[in-house]
Each structure stands twice: as structure tokens, then as C-alpha cells.
């Protein structure tokens, strides 16, 4: 394939031809009721995307047919589309060699997991959970991947990585608890610790007690923080939207938006939460930068176009990863400092309620526990919240140890303690 692409780029149809290749080799094993009885699949997804610019306009075409004819056809279709479009006021030429030279590539180490190891992890889990009288559902997946970007400026960059995960929900007759392990290749997976922690919490979640929704001091587990924070950032961090008055940050320029201790940043080569050192769509180098620091918005997210217009470095419309700087306090330590409150393991179905004030709604899910005198004392019925993320960032009183996570993006997120978290209604379980 490389030789085909090089051939095309030797005689590019215009002065703007970008060809990107993405290769994902996924093995995903899904289970429920303590057996592998759902999606159990292998897929090799290889896709080529061609972008052709012509006189200030850009067309693109993607295909998973990697033959020479097909890639040439994609070039023609992208060129044809570009010619039919109106001139783009935000047109950007391809990444140059000088720009690409700023990419800090890295080589994450990961091994290949055998089928025996994967199904073995699951069989062990099913055995222990059955022994504990619990049911389970979840999935184990491994995805080695490669991103490549070529263009007619002579750029050819490539990065290989791997994302593996085990997500497991353990269920009693009337409750559940979920935990995940995100890794490159499970070399860091300790089945005994992982499963015993799940069993302990699932047992504790049994028979949720009725409780009315009010404002509570909460310890939010890393998943809960990630789900809410990433949604908030996604809606509000675009620099152009902020300048155009369409973001919650628009009316908060220069204002304090978080407590001093909160530091949210991106670091493309982070040890556990890295995916790629460049943007897979165009080869733009991802940079490390602070997003929220010293209580203020430090830097928003800039597309290549908007960064060039404003004379600042581009971060991408979504950066390489999201790191919320943690401490070395385990979550138990955070719990031990709460006299009366709730531990929220994760959230579910978070949606925007009010853009300009950063208000979101959502439900608690898979583990909502009462904290009394610094200890988890049992579970309670799930709640709906309607919460301003600005209030959450302001009212965060303690920060714990980071955990690698991967839902919307690569992330490393700690548990946090927040006072006055706004629960507004309850449900029947």
C-alpha cells in the first residue's frame, strides 16, 4: 500500500493531497450471565482517507478497499468534490515537513495477548463471581492500531499503539457494581485484585436503601469524573465558539472557574493514557498544554485554522488526551474524610441542560453508596442530578490518585470529593 500511496504523491493531482491510513485489529469478547454469549468478534478495520485541496477548497473520500485502483478512485472523487465546492474561508493547506518535525513520536511497549489468555481471564472471573453468587456482564477487548499520514509535502508519519480493556459489571438480584481496567496489553492486570474488589463492592451494593434526593457531599469515582468532565470540555472548549459567544466560557473570560487545586492538561506521550502523538486526520502535531490551571481557563482548543488566525499553537479540536492531575491519595482516603455523603462509582446518560451555564443532567449507575463516618455503609437507590460543572470545579475539596480511562477519549482521571452535589430526583432501583 505504501508504494501505491508514494506513487500517487509523486505526481499529486493538486498541490494538496493528504492520504491517511488507519488500521484497527479488534478482538472483542462480550459476555453476560457469566458466559460469552454476545458479540464475540474479530475485525480488521483498515481504511484509507484521501483529502484533495483545490483553489482553497477541500474534498475527501474514504474507502476500506486498499487496492491501487480503489485509492486512485478515492483521489479522483475527492478532487471532483473539491472542484464542486464554494471557496472555504477556513481552508488550510497540508501539514508541512517543518510542522511534522515537531511531532514527538514515542513507541509504547505492548505484547500480543493470546486467545488462551483472554478467555482465561474471563473464565477465572466467571468462576469467582459464580462462587460469590453474583452474575456478570461486560467485555474484554484488545485493539492494536496504527495511524499513518502521508502528504505531497513529503510528510510520512506513523504511530502504532494498543488499547485493551476489561469492563465488568457484577450483579446481585437488585444491584450492580462496575469496574474497568484499561491497559495496553494486560501485562499490568492483576485478576485477583480486580475481581475481589468488584465482588466486595457488588456485595455491598445489595438491597439499596431508599433515600430522597438532596444536595450531598460526594466522592466521585474516576469514571464518574471522566464522564461529566469530558462532556463539559467537549461542549465548551472550542476557541472559536468561545470568541463567538457560543460557549459557557464566553462570559467567563479571565474569571475564576475552578478551585486552585484543579489542573487539567494534555500530554500526548503520557505513560498510561496515550494514543497518538499527531492528529490521525491530517498529521498535525499534538502538543502538551494546560487547559485549566490556577483556577482559570489556561488555554482553549484551537483548530489548525483558528490557531493560525490567532497566532497561537494548534491543539486540535479535541486534544491528544485529557489528564486531570491527581495526588497519591487512594480513593479510600477521600472516603475516610467524609462524615456524611455518597460515593458515586459512575454516571450514565449525561446530557447538556444549559450550555451557557455548563449545566448537565444524568443518572448515577452501577454503585451508589452511602458514606457514614468515613466508611461505605451500604447502597442507596440511584439519583438523577442537574449540576453545573462550574460549581463542581469550584466545590472540589479533595483530589485522589489518577486512573487510566478510555470512553470519549484517552484520559487519566482521579476521584474527587465535591460538596453540595445537586441530586434532583430518584428512580425505582
Amino acid at each position: 500500500m505504501n508504494s501505491t500511496i508514494e506513487k500517487i504523491l509523486k505526481k499529486p493531482v493538486t498541490d494538496h493531497v493528504v492520504i491517511t491510513c488507519e488500521k484497527f485489529e479488534t478482538h472483542s469478547i462480550r459476555f453476560s450471565n457469566n458466559s460469552v454469549n454476545r458479540e464475540n468478534l474479530c475485525k480488521l478495520a483498515e481504511e484509507v482517507r484521501v483529502e484533495v485541496g483545490y483553489d482553497g477548497r477541500t474534498g475527501s473520500f474514504s474507502t476500506n478497499d486498499l487496492s491501487e485502483d480503489s485509492i486512485k478512485h478515492a483521489v479522483e472523487k475527492a478532487y471532483e468534490a473539491a472542484k464542486l465546492l464554494p471557496k472555504d474561508s477556513e481552508y488550510m493547506p497540508p501539514v508541512t515537513e517543518a510542522e511534522a518535525a515537531k511531532i514527538k513520536n514515542f513507541k509504547p511497549a505492548f505484547g500480543k495477548m493470546s486467545e488462551g489468555r483472554k478467555y482465561g481471564i474471563l473464565r477465572d472471573a466467571f468462576r469467582e463471581l459464580k462462587k460469590a453468587g453474583l452474575n456478570s456482564a461486560g467485555s474484554l477487548s484488545t485493539t492494536p492500531l496504527t495511524f499513518e499520514v502521508y502528504n505531497n509535502n513529503g510528510v510520512h508519519i506513523s504511530h502504532s499503539n494498543c488499547v485493551s480493556s476489561l469492563t465488568l459489571t457484577a450483579m446481585t438480584e437488585n444491584s450492580s457494581f462496575r469496574e474497568s481496567h484499561i491497559s495496553k496489553d494486560f501485562a499490568d492486570y492483576d485478576g485477583e485484585v480486580f475481581i475481589s474488589n468488584i465482588i466486595k463492592h457488588a456485595q455491598l451494593s445489595r438491597n439499596p436503601a431508599p433515600l430522597e434526593p438532596v444536595k450531598f457531599t460526594v466522592v466521585l469515582g474516576p469514571s464518574a469524573v471522566e464522564e461529566l468532565l469530558l462532556m463539559f470540555l467537549w461542549y465548551n472548549m472550542d476557541a472559536k465558539a468561545i470568541d463567538e459567544g457560543r460557549s459557557a466560557f464566553s462570559k467567563r473570560a479571565g474569571k475564576r472557574i475552578a478551585t486552585e487545586a484543579i489542573h487539567i492538561y494534555s500530554k500526548p506521550d503520557h505513560a498510561t493514557a496515550s494514543l497518538s502523538p499527531f492528529c490521525p486526520n491530517d498529521g498535525m502535531p499534538f502538543i502538551g498544554f494546560d487547559m485549566i490551571k490556577n483556577g482559570k481557563l489556561a488555554r482553549a482548543w484551537y483548530s489548525r485554522f483558528y490557531a493560525a488566525k490567532k497566532g497561537v499553537p494548534a491543539t486540535g479540536r479535541f486534544p491528544a488526551n485529557i489528564i486531570f492531575k491527581g495526588t497519591n491519595k487512594p480513593v479510600d482516603k477521600l472516603i475516610s474524610n467524609v462524615g456524611n455523603g455518597l460515593y458515586v462509582n459512575s454516571f450514565w446518560y449525561i446530557r447538556l441542560v444549559d450550555l451557557m451555564d455548563g449545566i448537565f443532567t444524568g443518572m448515577t449507575r452501577d454503585g451508589l453508596f452511602r458514606i457514614k463516618d468515613g466508611k461505605l455503609t451500604g447502597s442507596v437507590n440511584n439519583f438523577r442530578f442537574n449540576q453545573s460543572v462550574f460549581d463542581m470545579l469550584r466545590d472540589t475539596t479533595e483530589i485522589g490518585k489518577e486512573k487510566a480511562l478510555f470512553s470519549m477519549a484517552c484520559a487519566s482521571i482521579p476521584p474527587i470529593t465535591v460538596k453540595d452535589f445537586n441530586f434532583t430526583s430518584k428512580t425505582e432501583f
Binding site: E39, N40, L41, K43, L85, Y349, V353
Partner: protein
Amino acid sequence: MDNLSEIINYLKGKKVRFADAREHLFRERQIMTEDTRVEGINEQNVSGTGIKVLYENGWGYASTSAKGMDSLKKAADKALSLARNADKTATGKVELAAEPKHVAKFATKTKEDLFGPGVGDAVAVLIEAGETILKGKDVIKAGSYLVFRNVKKKYANTEGSLIETDISTVLPQIDATARANGEVKSRHYWPAPMNAGYEYFRGLDFKTNAERIAAQAREHCFAKSCETGATTLILDPEHLSLTMHESVGHPTELDRVLGYEESCAGRSFATTDKLNNFKYGSELVNFIADNTLEGGLASCGYDDEGVECQKWHMIKDGILTGYGVNRELAHKLKLKRANGTTRATKYCDVPITRIPNLYLAPGKKPLSFEELIADTEDGIYIEGMGSFSIDQMRLNMQFGGDAFWEIKKGKITGMLKNVVYNAISYEFWRKCDAIADKRSFKRAGFITCGKGDPMQAAQMTHGASPARFREIMVRRAKH
């Protein structure tokens, strides 16, 4: 012999209990505009073959984008080896509901090929809509999103079925955002996405609607805040399409009900002991599942396990009467047949139970929309989809909307803002006390319904006539 039949024969020789193979060509054009520029055009052709194998009591699925027999055999062997591994963890016997052998073809009725007109034609329409929106007072942003999709499939299984389908889908959306009076508010025009050809897109009136949404986005900025408290709601068909999707469509997927989706999409309160006896809504409430609906987004002739598309009552006179059922789980309800609503997004995806085309049947008594409003003393009228969230058992739900108006003494008066309502799903449907008749029935739908692991996006049509709900808890979204 064609490749699919050959690979099915190959697997028959490997003593599988069941296997099917699906050649799947997915073609799509997405156009996004921002103000008067094209923000992006994504065109894609993704094709390949997926092979599903049942060995003893274990399932395996593997796929390949290559076309040759060698690659297909490799994928078949892989699917078989995965199925053997799964079988080792099996806890029960897999029983497949019988389905007649189908040798058939099905295609969306279209007049004009979606990909016939060049991309420039559609872009020109969207840019013009953007220009119209931006002429609106205090408007700061115009946007659009257009999808043309064509999916061609060939399906074969070990029971002798051989099915070809050819489905075309159009999804058009335009949006306006205004900033005034210290507020930023958006309004959209999302005509129903349809299985249709280019003629459907051509027939839409973007100009009038662009002017309307630009003016309403601004008006929303000056609206007064709603009061918190229980009130009467009248909901338009587009809005109801989202509430029914979340609170009726998903809870009646049998795989969810039986716990198979626990780890991702969640479960359902509508458990099988409630079938034919649970009061899901008031007696006025009838939900029809219909994958034979012409132009419906889930109307595909035959689903991805070779089952013919069907029509059934999900809820009849307020009582839960059905589920979306695949071949593997039908026997759990003692059903003889699955109901043809198992679909996969691309060739590499495993077919799973999806929400069918599902609509709230119009009221049987003559009642126009105007009469429904006139019959309502006080309340809130909501149009369009906004914020939406529901718990994983599909009980506690909270919805916003795209635009809200106050109803006073039987008349729609000024616009309201900051409206969200909160209810337990079945209690909400029990509080439905009027549904307008078929004259005001409208469709809406989705092409991005997420389910499965790995996640897949499915499409289905919904629809309703405007309906009224009493004593619903409305909350002011912010103070």
C-alpha cells in the same frame, strides 16, 4: 455457485449448527456546513463480508474486506474458532426460532439516485439555507448536516435463504443560533429522515423553514422562564419521537430485558412477567412496531438474520403486548418466530436486536391539533428534541425540547425558556389523556441510535400525532 453460497457450504462441512454470511456495501455522503462555508464532507465506501457461526452453544463472528474465497474461508475459520471458545463458557442451550427459507429481493422505492446529482447541488441548497438563517436578526450561527446513505446487502444462511437488499436513506437538518438579551438559543428544522431517494431532499422547503427557525431562535432568547411545578404538556410528533424511543423503544428490546445488554445499554423495567398485563400507558396509548412501513428507516425487507420484516403491537390499549425479538431469544417468550428487527451497521458488526420503526398510533376520535390546544386551559406546548436522559432501566427520564410555548385559556401564547420535565416513564404514558387524530400525524427518526459493544449506530423511524399529558413535573433548568 456464488461466493456466499460456497462459504455457507464450507461451514456446513465443519458441522456448525447454524451459519450465515452477509456481503455488506455501505456507501455514505455526509455534508456539514457552518454559516456559508462547507465545514466538512465525508464520503465513504466501506464493504466486506461478515460471517456468523453457531458451534454447539457458542457464537463467533469474523469479517473480511477482501473478496476472494481464500479470505472468506479464513474469516469462516476464525468465526468458528471464536465460537468454539465461547462454547466452552456456555451455560445453556442455544435454540433458534424457525424462519422460512427466503429467496428474495427488497429495495427502497426511490425515483432518483441519492448519488446521482453531484455534491455541489446539495451544498448549494445548504449554503443558501445558511445565508437565509444568517439574515435573521441577532443570529450568530447557521449550521446544517446532511446524510445520504445507501446500503446493499447479500445474505445467505445454512437454511437456504438468499436475500438481496438495497436501502437508501436521507437525513437533512438545519440549525440556527441567536444571541440576544444575555442568552444564546438554538432552533432547528429537522424534517423526518426517510428511506427514499434524492427526490425527498429536493422536495423539502428549506427557505421558509430557515426564516422561521432564525426568528424563533431569537424569540427564545427573550422568552420568560417557566415555573417549576406539575403542569399539562402538549408534545409535538418530533418531540414524542424521542420520548418514545427512550421510554418504549429501548425498554422493549428483549435482549436488554433479559440482561444481555447489562454492561452497556443497560436493562429494562419492562420484564417478561409484565407481558400482556402491565399498564404501560393510558387506554389511549397504542404503540405499533412496523418494519414494513414504506420509507421507514428500519424497513429493509429482511433483517440481518434472514427474518422477514413484520408489524406488531408493542403496546395495545395501554398494555405491554410485545418486544423486539431475535431468533435466539424468541423461545424465552415461547414465540415461534422472531420479528425481524435484528440489524448490523457495517459488515464487521454483529447483528443485534434494534428498535423497529415504532410509532404512537393517532387518536381514534376526531381531534385536530387546534382543537387539542383549544381544549387545554393551561400548560406548555413543546416542539422538537432537546436535552434527553433516562436511567439504565428506562424509568427516570428527563427531557427538554427545542422550543416551548405557554398555553393559556386554550391558546398558544408567548415562548418559554429553561423547560425540562421529569417523570417515571410508564407513569408519563399513563398520564396521556388526549392524542390528536391522524390528520396531524408526522414522522421523525434517528440514524444514530447507539447500542452494542463495539458500539453500532442504527436507524429507525418514529411518529405520532400531538398528544397531551397531565400533571407532569416541570423544572426550571436554571435560576
